[in-house]
């Protein structure tokens, strides 16, 4: 059953080519391993991985284009009355929100006055940018978003990302026209949070599931934490600005056999459904390591 090159001279060129296959494979595998080793470490940390992410942004551009094209087809074929009705609904909602905002505005002034009386620092004004989402990766081992704006839109690694309901995550790498956001539910992501009601400071850790966070460092003795309580970002560490809603506590279970209680929370942001997000480009969202101490 075995065919050797010598027995089949008519196809010798073909078999001759084949005999180099293993050598080619060895070259390709060696090359891949070398690239893997050279591009290790931080994303976009080495020149090679910077090149890789630039190449990626070139490939992503037609995708960004097709996404915006598909998104624009919908309204084109929607009926006029439906659009008018939707505009009416949106205008009503805008009015309602404006009214509420006007009321909140006075509260902000009041708050600032009280803070001045107490001698506390004033809250920073946040600059933000609305960015659309190109892609959502909700693998159990990687919870990421791809945004359709990057360095040209003044987005930087470390900028916090929020939606209308709460904290979404943090930008990790940027290219000219895209940015990757690590979600707060990524297994490698920790967020310093605070229980809004009691001021208890702790951390939330992602689980890999888009609907669950864990609070691994809550002591077993009564801490006042209860299901239904709101968690906001504490702003400690400087990665996230203070005061954004993060999650709602869903389960608190004391475990006398362990050092810490079992506490889970549900993120408030609609991580898999958002099409548009806010990126906070203010300085409060920068990680401290990005501002060199010169």
């Amino acid at each position: 059953m075995r065919f050797g090159p010598s027995r089949n001279p008519s196809q010798s060129s073909l078999f001759h080519r084949q005999s180099f296959l293993a050598l080619r494979l060895a070259c390709a595998v060696t090359g891949s391993v070398a690239l893997l080793v050279l591009s290790r470490g931080e994303p976009a940390g080495t020149p090679l991985s910077a090149f890789a992410s630039r190449l990626g942004s070139v490939i992503e551009r037609p995708i960004a284009f097709s996404v915006s094209t598909i998104a624009s087809i919908g309204p084109t074929f929607t009926r006029h009355e439906i659009l008018e009705r939707r505009i009416g609904i949106l205008e009503h909602r805008l009015l309602r929100l404006r009214a509420r905002l006007a009321r909140d505005h006075s509260l902000v002034f009041e708050n600032e006055r009280l803070k001045a009386l107490l001698g506390r620092a004033r809250t920073l004004k946040q600059a933000y940018r609305i960015v659309h989402v190109l892609r959502v990766d909700l693998d159990p081992y990687r919870q990421e978003l791809l945004l359709g704006a990057g360095q040209t839109a003044a987005l930087r690694p470390g900028d916090a990302v929020v939606d209308a309901r709460g904290l979404v995550g943090q930008i990790v790498t940027t290219t000219a026209h895209t940015a990757r956001v690590l979600l707060i539910t990524d297994p490698g992501q920790m967020v310093p949070v605070e229980v809004a009601e009691t001021g208890l400071l702790t951390f939330s850790v992602g689980t890999g599931s888009p609907s669950r966070l864990r609070l691994p460092f809550i002591a077993n003795q009564p801490t006042g934490i209860r299901p239904g309580q709101l968690l906001i970002s504490s702003g400690l560490g400087g990665h996230y600005p203070h005061g954004f809603p993060v999650a709602v506590v869903t389960r608190v279970e004391s475990r006398p056999d362990r050092s810490f209680a079992y506490v889970t929370a549900r993120p408030l942001a609609a991580l898999s459904e958002d099409r548009e997000l806010l990126v906070l480009t203010g300085s409060a969202g920068r990680p401290p390591s990005r501002t060199p101490a010169r």
Partner: protein, 160 residues
């Protein structure tokens, strides 16, 4: 001239496979997304081994790595091993009935996904191994469609 056109068509289908794999789809597709790139690259290794070989597969894998931001070189490695298997046995495989072809493709996709799983484990975190299995089933089921579609393309433009 016809050689240049063949290369262009092969490159276009590979690029289309990469774009298909990163195209945003409604959620919940993520666990069962077909492995378009190995399917398309594998077909060309079988049908046009002079035009498509290990190095072409390696380049396509690098592009794929850049597009999905996986460790640079990961899919390149797995895809070149996949292309090696397809090129090595192309004379036997392309004459097999489609059912047996699917079996061979499934076995090689298993190897491909195992390599990805392994490199993922070495470089970063991995998920349950079960999540790597579903795309193999979906892709194997799609093999006949890819095969006949690309064969039609190949015959139309006479790519050998």
């Amino acid at each position: 001239m016809t050689g240049l056109r063949s290369y262009a068509i092969i490159a276009a289908t590979l690029l289309a496979a990469i774009l298909l794999s990163v195209l945003p789809l409604p959620h919940a597709d993520l666990l069962a997304r077909p492995l378009w790139l190995p399917l398309v690259a594998g077909y060309w290794c079988l049908a046009a081994p002079r035009r498509m070989g290990i190095f072409t597969a390696w380049g396509a894998g690098l592009l794929f790595d850049a597009a999905v931001a996986s460790p640079f070189g990961e899919h390149a490695l797995a895809l070149s091993v996949f292309a090696y298997m397809m090129s090595r046995y192309h004379l036997r495989i392309r004459n097999l009935p489609i059912g047996l072809q699917m079996l061979f493709v499934a076995a090689n996709l298993l190897l491909y996904e195992f390599l990805i799983f392994w490199i993922n484990g070495l470089t970063s975190k991995t998920g349950p191994i079960l999540f790597y299995g579903l795309p193999i089933l979906v892709s194997t089921a799609l093999w006949p469609a890819v095969f006949f579609l690309l064969r039609r393309l190949r015959r139309r433009y006479r790519i050998h």
